[in-house]
Subunit: 348 residues, 2 copies
């Protein structure tokens, strides 16, 4: 006999990208930032440490919300912080979607959305992207059970974007909240951070894991109408962000010069690697994120993935049902990418 | 029109104890440790910081699980870590209890259990303690909808305990998982950390917030049969604990000498303050935790709470429906408790 809800027993847990415990790997598989974070972060952590850890943290990360609000031109009441944006996605599902109700997500995209739907006992309706990675009309269709729509923008694994204009039209058509997951927006040409002011069913999530180089810290935030935030606050654990991560995240978001310089380096490398991968024969998709999605029906991609791994270079091999497979390669430093390209060249 | 699930709209969010943002308060309201944590914690954080924060943390906090397993005489597979034990309580509800099903909890106790039941759309059945803070037979009764039972042990606000023998009997009678919330067990004479080995429906939760002086860090763990942990792992966010908190928590649990010395100081102060409060006329309950619960029908307790607050001393005033009110005073340092007792003396 199982004590678990049937939904949990039926579930295969989400398997995150490999994080090798030891040894020297070039990690191009989980879209981490190859550059060390702003030096302001360590100073902020040391400062917070001097204040001690005996007391509970600020339950709403006030200092961070003020900085983020300035950056996005909203009031702090429009910002909510989370233990990584994954925690915010979890809270959104728990707040909006009941058992048996419907969550819509594009396919292929971040597989966590579907896992979260299943944990909640909800249905996850996957709507396939068009072949040019635009959204079909079905993505905006009403449904009496539809309670939440996820749109990762830029999307993973493709690195492609739906334009802010198209996102606005989608939001206006939908009868429910639309979550625009902007984990990779800092690497893109446009974003929807301003949209929640105009469309009260739009919630934008951001993370400090990728562009700010802080995956180890677990810090994300959400921009939405204060009425929505008030409801979401009832669902979150009281003290979901800790004293050190709040201090560190506040310092990181305050150092926009570091972000601009790091972004520039990553975009330059991305352009170089996209060209090089195409010259090797891949169909590399133009990316607005910090990774590049590569397909090629004539290559044995699992063999290339495995050959790279044997040379201690990790990339992500993905094989999506009803879509096909590809290699998602994170944008590393120039020398990491050169090493990766060199090994691939020997494998094809 | 609301986008939220009805369960969320109907909910008044959990209100944690006051955390004054500024000014010098003597905080005796949220059971934090009055002593700074082990000095090994800062060293561990600085070490982790030198390793950088760009990469995702270890998804299962392996280093901590090994230390905790040694301490409790189990294998690391019996340990699961959380972003504070609050997150683990949340995961337990989501894993075991569906909409409309039943969670049992004693009354009065930690109000979060009932909030978590409501968020999940489940029913929270409160069974009142006997007047001597033992559990009535009704607490062990079967019910076809019963999916989870919470037993905080020691309990808050009373600081009292149900003996390990009684907990074992309870577990054997119950048809569902029993969560023994041992947030305060390090201050008690006994505990149930060994019980999951004998009873496969018992899960024990611990936190580093209280006894280890790390409320600001957000770190808790759970001891249970690996079969249960495997199911709970499907529900948790992939990276729920961050690189710094894992390093810090591992160093903290490794310094058992610090824990023993701090525990001794807190137990001495607890004995002194219990005597003094009784001399002032309170009915102070013998505590096995780091706080003391004080009732006295002849005192105007809200006025005492308010008078203390005006003197910048925070304690917790609680008024439980069908039970009555009281002041829960955390065990501070001797000088903090002397200041608190002095102000109370002038108010009664």
């Amino acid at each position: 006999m199982s004590y678990f809800r049937p939904a949990i027993d039926e579930l295969t847990g989400y398997v995150p990208g490999e994080q090798p415990a030891a040894g020297k790997f070039i990690k191009l598989n989980t879209n981490e930032n190859p550059y060390p974070c702003s030096s302001a972060v360590a100073r902020a952590i040391e400062g917070a440490l001097r204040g001690g850890l005996a007391r509970y943290p600020d339950a709403t990360a006030t200092a961070f919300r003020h900085r983020a609000a300035e950056l996005h031109g909203v009031e702090p009441e429009w910002i909510m912080c989370g233990n990584g944006s994954d925690e915010l996605l979890t809270i959104l599902v728990r707040a909006f979607v009941g058992e048996g109700q419907l969550i819509r997500l594009p396919h292929p995209s971040y597989v966590l959305y579907k896992t979260l739907a299943r944990i909640q006992g909800a249905r996850g309706e996957e709507v396939a992207f068009n072949s040019d990675w635009s959204l079909p009309a079905a993505f905006a269709k009403g449904d009496k059970n539809l309670r939440l729509v996820f749109l990762p923008n830029p999307n993973s694994p493709s690195g492609t974007m739906v334009t802010p204009e198209a996102v606005r039209e989608l939001a206006e058509q939908l009868p429910c909240p639309l979550v625009v997951d902007e984990a990779y927006a800092d690497f893109a040409e446009s974003h929807c951070a301003g949209l929640p002011r105009d469309c009260d069913n739009v919630l934008v999530t951001r993370t400090l894991s990728k562009s700010y180089g802080l995956a180890g810290l677990r810090f994300g935030y959400l921009i939405a109408h204060p009425r929505l935030i008030a409801g979401l606050m009832k669902v979150k654990d009281s003290y979901n962000c800790d004293t050190l991560s709040i201090a560190a995240a506040t310092a990181a978001i305050d150092d926009q010069q570091w972000l601009a310089e790091t972004r520039r380096k990553i975009l330059d490398t991305r352009a170089r690697m996209t060209d090089a991968l195409r010259k090797l024969g891949f169909e590399a998709v133009d990316s607005q994120a910090n990774f590049v999605w590569n397909t090629q029906p004539e290559f044995e991609l699992p063999r290339i993935y495995q050959g790279l791994k044997e040379q201690r270079i990790l990339v992500r091999y993905m094989n999506y049902p009803r879509w096909g497979d590809g290699l998602r390669i994170s944008v590393g430093t120039d020398s990491q990418i050169d090493a990766c390209l060199g090994v691939i060249k020997g494998l094809i």
